[in-house]
């Protein structure tokens, strides 16, 4: 029997057992296609996962529908939004990158080293609007990833690069280390306590430390006394911890904005607010990308479309996997500045294989962050945070820092992981010449991004795209001044030059009018309230834009010459005000 046949047989047997024989399976080139009707979305995901776990499988295309989900956006559909930005669409280029998340932007910046015409097409009105804006910002070492996965390999290769990347791009990065806590609850209740003690003191720490070494980190076992000195606020239930000093934290959207700005400086074109609708293929090779603003001829397309990567691949006739969206919610608290000095994650067995990451940490801005959750969702854009997720997060993460005040929540949000059924990254050429996958980039995709970009460049090189290094490539990008971080003298000096620095608009985060204006006129212009927020933090503090919201909206309206009714929160129909009042008072 060939591998293809073996895979098919196994899967059919599984379906039979589940009473789902009506679901059809075909396997070609070790890519499995499943189609039919199941009862629930959970069944669909389960079938996909089972298929993905079979030996020899390269990809799973799961077209199974479920009775409980009537609507699912699998095919291309128009998201066309008009946020008022007018970006010129080039008719012809060498490379089109679809998606301006951290992956698309890293690839763009990496390609800007060479003499190539590169265009990034993004359906939203800003970069970093997908999973990239809603994640933990952890730079993982790969210690938690399964051996043999691309996720682990790339993550281990990527984390040591971050210091330099952060310096070049002038973005925050802190290598603060992760403490993996072992507590009285780390092992299941049924393990007898004498055994549990032996396992926790002698076996687990060394096992975990060993794994840490395998990804290039220098782990250290920390005993309880030292641990409680290092982190006085963590749970007294801790018995030991393993310190993974390689772990770090960055700001995922700031790094993406910085990458995009740097790419622009080095010649890349970004077209935002523009959706890819189709990809034209001739003789098995990419010819053209059709967008909501017109066509772009090109020979190479890089698919970095996050949760839509399978839809995009389908447009090119290269659907070799299906994305099953997995939502993760995050809880964010008011600034705590030093409540914790490391990231903390309590180890609990048995582990949920899809959320090893996460835990409790302070963001680079000093806010406490808990999360994420992991919930399979059928809607790719489901970023709602449910009551049960809020409860889960408190249940799961509060025990690590039991005295932390829950009433200091300032916001919560969710991102959607672009998981494939093989639960690994898909980076490589496809059956269509010139169409390259950078798909299935779930966690730790932020971490792995710089190496993913390098791989993509290698693929281009191998496929014969001429890569000649550009003269005058500048890897360095400078962030605009952040008023709050300056000394009194520097502040006064700035204000003397530009009095808008003396006008504090966001009182919680002390953001000045000048910073907001800079963001609006940046090389990737901020055209929405959320875009201004990501660049300046205006509206990110404890009052969540209560005070500065109307003022930021006014500045956006003034600087763009748009009536206030056309200013939006995040593009599309997310307008801030409906109309003028009847009686102007």
């Amino acid at each position: 029997m060939t591998t293809n046949e073996k895979i098919k047989k196994k899967l059919e047997k599984f379906l039979e057992k589940k009473n789902l024989s009506s679901i059809k399976v075909s396997v070609e080139d070790r890519i499995v296609t499943i189609a039919g009707l199941a009862d629930t979305w959970d069944d669909v995901v389960q079938i996909g996962h089972y298929a993905g776990s079979l030996k020899g499988v390269r990809g799973i295309v799961n077209n199974t529908k479920s009775r409980d989900i009537t609507e699912r956006k699998d095919e291309a559909q128009s998201f066309f939004r008009d946020s008022g930005i007018r970006m010129k669409l080039p008719g012809k280029t060498d490379v089109v990158i679809i998606g301006a998340g951290v992956i698309g932007c890293f690839v763009a910046r990496e390609l800007s080293r060479y003499n190539l015409d590169v265009v990034v097409v993004e359906k939203e009105s800003d970069v970093a609007c997908g999973a990239t804006k809603a994640n933990n910002g952890q730079i993982h070492t790969g210690v938690g990833e399964k051996s043999g996965t691309l996720k682990k390999e790339l993550c281990a290769e990527a984390w040591p690069l971050y210091q330099k990347i952060a310096e070049d791009l002038d973005v925050p990065y802190e290598k603060n280390g992760l403490l993996i806590l072992l507590t009285e609850e780390s092992l299941p209740q049924w393990v007898p306590s004498f055994l549990s003690r032996i396992i926790l003191t002698y076996i687990v720490p060394y096992f975990v430390a060993h794994r840490g070494k395998s990804v290039g980190d220098t782990p250290r076992v920390v005993n309880r006394k030292e641990l409680l000195q290092m982190e006085p606020h963590i749970t007294k239930r801790a018995v030991k911890a393993i310190l993974m000093p390689g772990y770090g934290v960055t700001c995922p959207y700031k790094i993406t904005i910085a990458l995009a700005e740097n790419a622009v400086e080095n010649g890349v074109t970004f077209v935002l607010d523009t959706e890819v609708l189709d990809i034209m293929v001739e003789n098995d090779a990419v010819r053209k990308v059709a967008t909501s603003r017109g066509d772009i001829s090109c020979r190479t397309v890089i698919n970095a479309a996050g949760v839509y990567a399978d839809v995009i691949a389908g447009m090119a006739g290269a659907r070799e996997y299906t994305i099953h969206p997995r939502k993760g919610s995050i809880l964010l608290f008011d600034k705590t500045e030093g409540y914790l000095t490391h990231q903390v994650s309590e180890l609990r067995f048995p582990q949920d294989p899809h959320t090893k990451g996460g835990g409790v940490l302070e963001t680079v801005d000093g806010n406490m962050l808990w999360g994420p959750t992991a919930v399979e969702v059928s809607d790719r854009e489901d970023t709602s945070v449910s009551k049960s997720e809020l409860e889960t997060m408190v249940e799961k993460y509060h025990p690590a820092v039991p005295e932390f005040p829950l009433n200091s929540v300032i916001t919560y949000f969710a991102g959607v992981r672009a998981a494939t059924y093989t639960e690994d990254f898909v980076i490589g050429p496809s059956r269509v010449r010139g169409f390259i996958h950078a798909a299935g980039i779930q966690s730790p995709g932020l971490t792995a991004a710089p190496v993913i970009a390098k791989r993509v460049v290698d693929i281009l090189r191998k496929s014969g795209v001429p890569l000649k290094e550009k003269e005058g490539f500048n890897p360095v990008r400078k962030a605009p001044p952040v008023f709050k971080e300056l000394s009194a003298e520097e502040k006064t000096e700035l204000i003397k030059k530009n009095s808008r620095y003396g006008h504090i608009v966001c009182r919680c985060e002390q953001v000045t009018e000048a910073e907001i204006v800079n963001a609006i006129h940046g090389s990737i212009p901020a055209v929405t309230m959320d875009a201004v927020k990501r660049r300046t933090r205006a509206g990110m503090g404890r009052c969540q834009g209560g005070f500065c919201g109307p003022r930021v909206a006014e500045i956006l309206s003034r600087e763009q010459g748009l009536p206030l009714e056309r200013v939006t929160k995040k593009g599309g129909g997310s307008y801030i005000v409906a109309s003028k009042t009847k009686v102007v008072s």
Partner: protein, 418 residues
């Protein structure tokens, strides 16, 4: 720069405090206000309902503020607008930023905190769901409508029945908006009765008590909310959910005193009020730093703000002159039956004049007596026909009575006949 008194915040509290300090003889008084005009929240409160006690007439917010601003203009008080205080330490060093001078530090003999409060947000009450635009706190919506002439939305669901929410429900109706209803998680309205009548009943807007929002829908703009009834423990009752299409959610779910600067100056806080612990002259735990208005506790009426601010102004002037005399032992104010908080929380000086205590009850009760006792002896009683959490109770304690008070002062609300 050295000055006598720095007042942080130019709302009704700051204005009244500055005036009274000046009138009590303080020389250099400076008001620092981050906005481009004085008046605090008042310029956006264009409804009437201000000044009934202080001026004996019903004024609008801007009119009320104007009376104080005109008085200020007649004095030598200096006003710095567009000036945001970014730092304060316990040595009364004030750091302020403005577009003309940049970063300026001032050393004051006394500081009066009058920063007001901010509104509680959607996240602070953990409403689940999506995060579209169209979710506003009532004060923000008020600013849009009254200051900018812009209507935030057309079909509105109001969560919370605080005063600002009630007033805004009426405002939306007047502007042609459709207010589906006001939903309140407590079994009773959160705002003043007068506002429930004048803003909801008169406009046919239903008030649903023991209800809350359990979900918000909408990817871009709000598309609808799901409301549900709650039980005594505020848990949604399954089966009572109802979906309401709307484009706007208005939140009036509480105000939080704005005390970031107070914390920087290491001032002791009262966890119930959310403001600093103050004594009878509104002095905080840090000598020479006073506080008044919504920064101390949230007031329902501006008149009370102005009156308490006068006390703070006088106290600060006395502090500058060095004429403050202290008791040997501080009297601490204790809250007893059906009392949520009492301000001031301590008495440090010998009585020179009457002291007004402000208290909030926990529960509605009819026919009650506020009993104030010290060391087991009742020193004062005050009858109230009805007490409700949204309506502050005021008790004036005469100087003569205060002379006999030592160590502790207890406040209890007792039902008559018990």
């Amino acid at each position: 720069m050295n000055v006598d008194i720095v007042v942080i915040g130019g709302g009704p509290a700051g204005l009244a405090a500055a005036l009274s300090a000046y009138r009590a003889g303080a020389q250099q008084v400076v008001i620092l206000e981050r906005d481009f005009e004085l008046g605090g929240i008042l310029p956006q409160c264009i409804h009437d309902g201000f000044g009934n006690f202080v001026f004996g007439e019903m004024l609008t917010g801007p009119e009320y503020a104007q009376r104080y601003i005109e008085e200020i203009e007649k004095t030598g008080i200096s006003v710095m607008l567009n000036s945001m205080v970014v730092d304060l330490d316990s040595d009364k060093k004030v750091t302020v930023v403005n577009p003309e001078e940049g970063v300026v530090t001032m050393k004051a003999k006394a500081v009066i905190l009058a920063m007001g409060c901010r509104e509680r947000t959607r996240s602070q009450i953990l409403i689940p769901g999506e995060r579209p635009s169209g979710i506003y706190t009532a004060g923000v919506a008020q600013r849009f409508i009254n200051m900018e002439g812009l209507l935030p939305g057309k079909k509105v669901v109001v969560l919370g029945s605080g005063d600002v929410g009630l007033i805004m429900a009426r405002r939306f109706s007047l502007e042609g908006g459709d207010v589906e209803g006001v939903y309140e998680i407590l079994p009773r309205a959160g705002g003043l009765t007068r506002n429930v009548v004048q803003c909801l009943e008169d406009y046919g807007i239903p008030l649903h008590v023991s209800h809350t929002i359990v979900d918000i829908k909408g990817k871009e703009r709000v598309e609808g909310v799901t409301v549900a009834q709650v039980d005594e423990r505020f848990k949604p009752v399954p089966g009572t959910e109802r979906y309401i299409p709307c484009d706007t959610v208005l939140l009036s779910v509480g105000l939080i005193p704005e005390n970031e600067l107070s914390r920087k100056a290491t001032i002791e806080m009262d966890l119930t009020t959310g403001g600093p612990v103050v004594d009878e002259s509104m002095e905080t735990s840090v000598p020479g730093i006073f506080a008044c208005g919504n920064v101390v506790h949230v007031h329902d009426l501006v008149d009370d703000v102005s009156q308490a601010a006068e006390v703070a102004g006088k106290g600060a002037a006395a502090c500058v002159k060095g004429t403050v005399e202290r008791r040997d032992t501080v009297v601490s104010v204790k809250k007893g039956r059906n009392v949520s908080y009492v301000v001031p929380q301590i008495i440090r000086g010998h009585p020179k004049e009457d002291i007004v205590f402000y208290l909030r009850v926990k529960e509605i009760e009819k026919n009650v007596k506020v009993i104030i006792s010290s060391q087991g002896e009742v020193v004062k009683e005050k009858k109230e026909r009805i007490v409700k959490p949204p309506e502050m109770v005021k008790v004036q304690m005469e100087k003569a009575v205060l002379e006999n008070v030592n160590e502790e002062l207890h406040f209890d609300v007792i039902r008559l006949g018990e």
